[in-house]
């Protein structure tokens, strides 16, 4: 018995010692002099608040700085990546997703273990195949061969801002609207709560037109239409059309925790609505949390593409 315990303890210590998470955790950066960081704050790990009791949720209140996932969840690892839109290329796929080393990505990024494929229409499937993502996944291509609009610093748009690298956001609630501020690529949206209707035939926008209302005291529902179809839904190249309707459901579980569910409804591309994220956890951060900036600079992107993306392209056979 004691031998078994020893084995167990050794296994645990080994696992934890070689865990990148713990190594990072013990090496959390500190400002000079050991004082707490006041600028460019790093969100806490889930373990710092998991299981912690929270006071009850305030009524009809979303305001605050909310962190999506925390560092150790792997950003979006439970989000759109759970869905199988990265269809493995079977027999002669030209994009070379398989060849590109998807198996080597490991973990949950390769999407091969997912049970239910997304319900593409033939148009949707063709649009998916035309999108060539550079991000990790079974359909990835080298960045220089990708047509991801983000690789040229096009606007990330909505709902991709929630389905790809959702990190820290701030929600500001006023008498007639909710303002959604996203540090990642500097996005902001207005969600009107003054009772107006969605536009019928709007000029298309990158972030669309949004109205929100309270379903009950702790659940806020946002409907968005009028979305420019030049954006992708996510980093995997899932397509959408101008007919896309998105429903966001922000459910405040208690004071410190909220869940975000995003429903994608686009009959042109998908035969039925599906969940982009399902009860994705958002955690309330202190009000003095300084959200770091991360913007897409076209000049920096071009420099990266010149020095690295283009330079690492495998040489192609000469004709």
């Amino acid at each position: 018995m004691s031998k078994r315990w020893a084995v167990l303890i050794v296994a645990l210590i080994t696992g934890l010692t070689f865990s990148p998470i713990l190594r990072v955790q013990t090496a959390a950066p500190q400002a000079a002099g050991g004082e707490a960081r006041k600028w460019n704050n790093i969100p806490p790990r889930k373990s710092a608040y998991a299981g912690k009791k929270s006071s009850p949720a305030p009524r009809r209140d979303l305001s605050g700085i909310w962190d999506a996932a925390g560092l150790d969840a792997g950003i979006q690892v439970n989000g759109a990546f759970e869905h199988p839109a990265l269809l493995p290329q079977k027999g002669g796929g030209a994009e070379g997703g398989r060849e590109a080393g998807a198996g080597a990505e490991g973990g949950r990024l390769d999407e091969t273990g997912i049970e239910h494929p997304l319900p593409y229409t033939p148009v949707g499937l063709a649009a998916l195949k035309a999108n060539k993502p550079s991000g990790p996944g079974v359909r990835q291509v080298p960045a220089a061969l990708s047509n991801d609009p983000l690789d040229q610093c096009d606007p990330i748009g909505f709902p991709r801002m929630e389905l790809y690298e959702l990190r820290t956001i701030e929600l500001v609630q006023t008498a007639n609207r909710v303002i959604f501020l996203n540090g990642w690529y500097g996005n902001w949206r207005i969600i009107w709560t003054d009772g107006r209707e969605l536009p019928k035939d709007p000029e298309l926008r990158w972030n669309g037109y949004s109205v929100g209302k309270w379903l009950d005291d702790y659940t806020f529902i946002v409907e968005t239409v009028g979305l420019n179809a030049r954006t992708w839904l996510d980093h995997a190249g899932r397509p959408h059309s101008e007919d896309l309707r998105v429903e966001e459901r922000f459910h405040r579980v208690d004071h410190d925790n909220m869940e975000l569910t995003v429903t994608i409804d686009d009959p042109k591309m998908y035969t039925q609505p599906w969940l982009g994220v399902n009860k994705f956890p958002l955690h309330l951060l202190p009000s003095d949390f300084d959200i770091p900036e991360l913007l897409c600079s076209p000049l920096d992107m071009a420099e990266y593409n010149r020095q690295i993306s283009n330079a690492v392209l495998p040489s192609r056979p000469k004709k």
Partner: protein, 134 residues
Amino acid sequence: MKFLLAFALAASGVIVSVPLFAHHGNASYDSTKTVTVKGTVTDYMWANPHVFLKVDAKDNRGNTLHWIIEAQNPLSQTEVGWTKNTFKPGDEVIVEIIPAKNGQPIGRFGVAGPTAGLATQESRIVINGKQFKP
């Protein structure tokens, strides 16, 4: 007991396999090889989409290769303890990378394995004789 042991192993496995999110996949890199680059820093770019480091290093024949080694975006690098001052020109460095498949002196911080090139913090980094610890 067997269950506990299995659980402990599974739990440690899960923790180990969690990668940082990568903006770009590692399609152009050979994720089965770890290469150690030893040389002198000539430039260090703290920029989106990817932080990158330039290192002049001698190959086996004594020729100088101008390496470019990319990490992840500045936010992800901050999260693993890097700053804009982690490297400076003139630093003597030893870094572990996975190399470009096309044989160019281009690499990505990381080591061969399931998260090759996606988890920068797995690389061994020595700066001016000292192991880098954020």
